[in-house]
């Protein structure tokens, strides 16, 4: 942890869940998955901790769902190990793995009522009838579906189906619950509600959750830690704050929240940006002459009427205002930097100085609020 000032964006505060975390439940070691000539997962390694709410985040086609399906046993890995509680799962069938999955389509059995859907997995374990009844009733109560237990899946709304799918996947008390885009089918309002609910439920049942999502806001809200994936690789594994404040590369920086980029090369104490000259930035440990992107969060920069308003250590660039959007709590200012023509966005409270389109202003930021990314 550094002493840098932490700025948080619109993504909201990631909720922490209590409970002890620490020991790894599942570790994915050098997993490769090939579909013919296509490498969907390329040497993926990850460790997921006990009781953690873990998110696999990335654009579609990045391999996140493939990885989830490899853990569930629906895809065989080409090479590598998936170790759960010390035992390698590779080569075992889905029905022997102490892992359950909630499918994106929910995959409810259409010919069974809700109650039988949820009881299905317990009946497979041949538990005593009394015990099955108790556990099914209990889990249906937990997800608020007790009153609809006699319905068929086609008589339920999307949100209700989602709850049944969730109940069915946790009733067996798996070591790890896999959730494939659990909220993708819900509308925005319902999604926000369910984000909180999933979080609460995970805390309540004390099961490790691995959720796949393409929605960074969803991942930031729910997850304790997030693995950002792209093109079959895990780029960074970190807490939501860490990902936002200290992205390791351009992809993560652009994928998590919004980011302004200025391309240049590393020089002592600064990044040399073409036509702008050297802009001071934290370049410690970086080799001189390396190509680098200077990355500035929209809320880390300010719009100033004149260069004199900047504090002496600030980096300043003059820009022309393209457009201003007032969205209530914030003002989004879209600018184009003079000389280079690079687009630049700033988000602030707008109370200090609300610029108008066409106006020439000064864009300023503290050098250590910027990140220098070399890949």
């Amino acid at each position: 942890m550094s002493a840098e000032p932490r700025t948080r964006g619109a993504a909201g505060e990631g909720l922490r869940s209590a409970g002890d975390r620490g020991a790894d439940v599942i570790s994915i070691e050098h997993v490769v998955k090939e579909f013919g000539p296509v490498r969907a997962l390329d040497e993926v390694s990850l460790a997921i901790r006990e009781n953690e709410f873990f998110a696999l985040l990335g654009p579609s086609g990045c391999g996140k769902t493939t990885l989830l399906r490899c853990i569930g046993g629906f895809e065989e890995v080409t090479s590598g190990r998936i170790v759960l509680d010390g035992a390698d799962l590779v080569g075992t069938k889905p029905y022997t793995r102490p892992v359950n999955m909630m499918f994106q389509s929910y995959a409810l059995f259409p010919h069974m009522i809700v109650w039988d859907n949820v009881a299905y997995g317990l009946r497979a374990e041949r538990l005593p009838k009394e015990q099955i009844r108790e556990r099914v009733d209990d889990v249906l109560a937990k997800v608020g579906m007790s009153s609809l237990a006699e319905r068929r899946p086609n008589q339920l709304s999307g949100g209700q189906r989602q709850r049944v799918a969730l109940a069915r996947s946790i009733v067996k008390r798996p070591r790890v619950l896999l959730l494939d885009e659990p909220l993708a089918a819900l509308d925005r309002k319902m999604r926000q509600e369910m984000e909180m609910e999933l979080k609460r439920l995970q805390h309540e049942v004390g099961i490790t959750f691995i959720v796949v999502t393409h929605d960074q806001e969803e991942a930031m809200t729910m997850a304790d830690r997030i693995a950002v994936m792209n093109a079959g690789h895990v780029l960074q594994v970190a807490s939501p704050q860490e990902l936002y404040d200290r992205p390791v590369d351009r992809f993560v920086a652009a994928f998590i929240g919004r980011m302004n980029f200025l391309e240049g090369t590393v020089v002592p104490g600064a990044v040399l940006v073409e036509r702008h000259g050297p802009l001071r930035a934290p370049v410690d440990g970086l080799k001189e002459g390396v190509a680098a992107s200077l990355a500035v969060r929209p809320e880390s920069a300010r719009v100033l009427r004149s260069p004199e308003d900047a504090s002496p250590q600030d980096v300043t660039v003059s820009a022309v205002v393209e457009g201003v959007a007032f969205v209530g709590s914030q003002v989004h200012t879209h600018l184009v930097l003079e000389v280079s023509g690079t687009p630049f966005a700033i988000v602030d409270s707008g109370r200090v100085s609300m610029a108008s389109p066409g106006e020439t202003v000064t864009v300023a930021w503290a050098p250590d609020a910027a990140r220098v990314l070399t890949s």
């Binding site: 046993g73 999955m101 409810l108 299905y120 997995g121 068929r152 899946p153 069915r168 993708a184």
Partner: protein, 270 residues
């Protein structure tokens, strides 16, 4: 404008009336004549009677032929539905070849007479004794194709993740097939069975070629017709008509698109 359109609509109604008359009048005549209290070969209406139905059920030849036909239809249906289901599953899930698809449905399109001749020469080539068994196999040739075609329409909307969910919940492959896959596609299987059964019961050409000494129901009727159309034959035909209609309506009812038959996709990726 509107007048000429009304005129067109009027003509359409007449046209439709004629068409339906053309399609259904012979059937109506058949049914009516089966209740005609007349002597053989008299076509004029002599009063209502069900005596010909009584005679049908007193005729040992007709009853024996009916029994043979039902046994053949039942066996051919069983064979067609079991193999057709497996074929449909295999085609739907493990091939992308449209040539193979066409090859499977081809037997439906081959003229019956060609199928009959081909089977007859094949049976004699391998010295297969003609009889009930040879007809069952012959009917299964297109029965399997029909069954596969009907069951595939059911499989097309099948969300395979429900099978994965079953495996995931601790149930092995074969029990998963029996408890999840089979119940969900069952309406398609039953409707395929009804169609194959109906087609087998009234199939004449192929059965005639491959029957040997066996007399099926259509063959029996054919031999009766040679002595003229009797009210008894009308009664038999009416019974067959009622039976076929019942099965076909049941098949259509079972295979109708239903909201609860298949889970709707819960939503796509955004």
């Amino acid at each position: 404008m509107s007048e000429s359109r009304a005129g067109t609509a009027g003509w359409l109604k007449v046209h439709m009336g004629l068409l339906f008359g053309f399609l259904y009048l012979p059937l109506v005549v058949l049914v009516v004549l089966s209740f005609n209290d007349a002597r053989r070969s008299v076509v004029s209406w002599q009063g209502f009677s069900t005596r010909w139905y009584g005679e049908v059920f007193d005729d040992p030849q007709i009853l024996r032929a009916l029994g043979t036909t039902f046994v053949i239809a039942a066996l051919a249906t069983l064979l067609s539905v079991v193999l057709g289901t497996l074929l449909a599953l295999g085609l739907e899930r493990h091939t992308r070849s449209s040539v193979l698809d066409g090859a499977v449905y081809f037997p439906i399109l081959v003229p019956d007479i060609v199928t009959g001749i081909a089977l007859l020469s094949f049976y004699s080539l391998i010295h297969f004794t003609l009889g009930t068994g040879s007809i069952v196999i012959a009917h299964s040739v297109w029965g399997i194709a029909f069954a596969a075609a009907i069951i595939r329409t059911r499989l097309r909307g099948f969300d395979r993740s429900i099978e994965e969910a079953s495996l995931d919940l601790g149930v092995k492959e074969i029990p998963t097939f029996l408890r999840i896959t089979l119940p969900v596609i069952m309406p398609g299987i039953v409707s395929a069975a009804l169609v194959v059964f109906t087609l087998s019961v009234d199939e004449f050409v192929i059965a005639y070629f491959t029957a040997g000494q066996t007399v099926t129901f259509p063959i029996q009727i054919y031999s009766m017709i040679r002595f003229g159309i009797t009210p008894e034959i009308n009664a038999v035909a009416t019974l067959l008509l009622a039976f076929s209609m019942l099965l076909i309506v049941a098949a259509l009812y079972l295979n109708r698109p239903r909201p609860d038959g298949m889970p709707e996709l819960a939503g796509g990726r955004t």
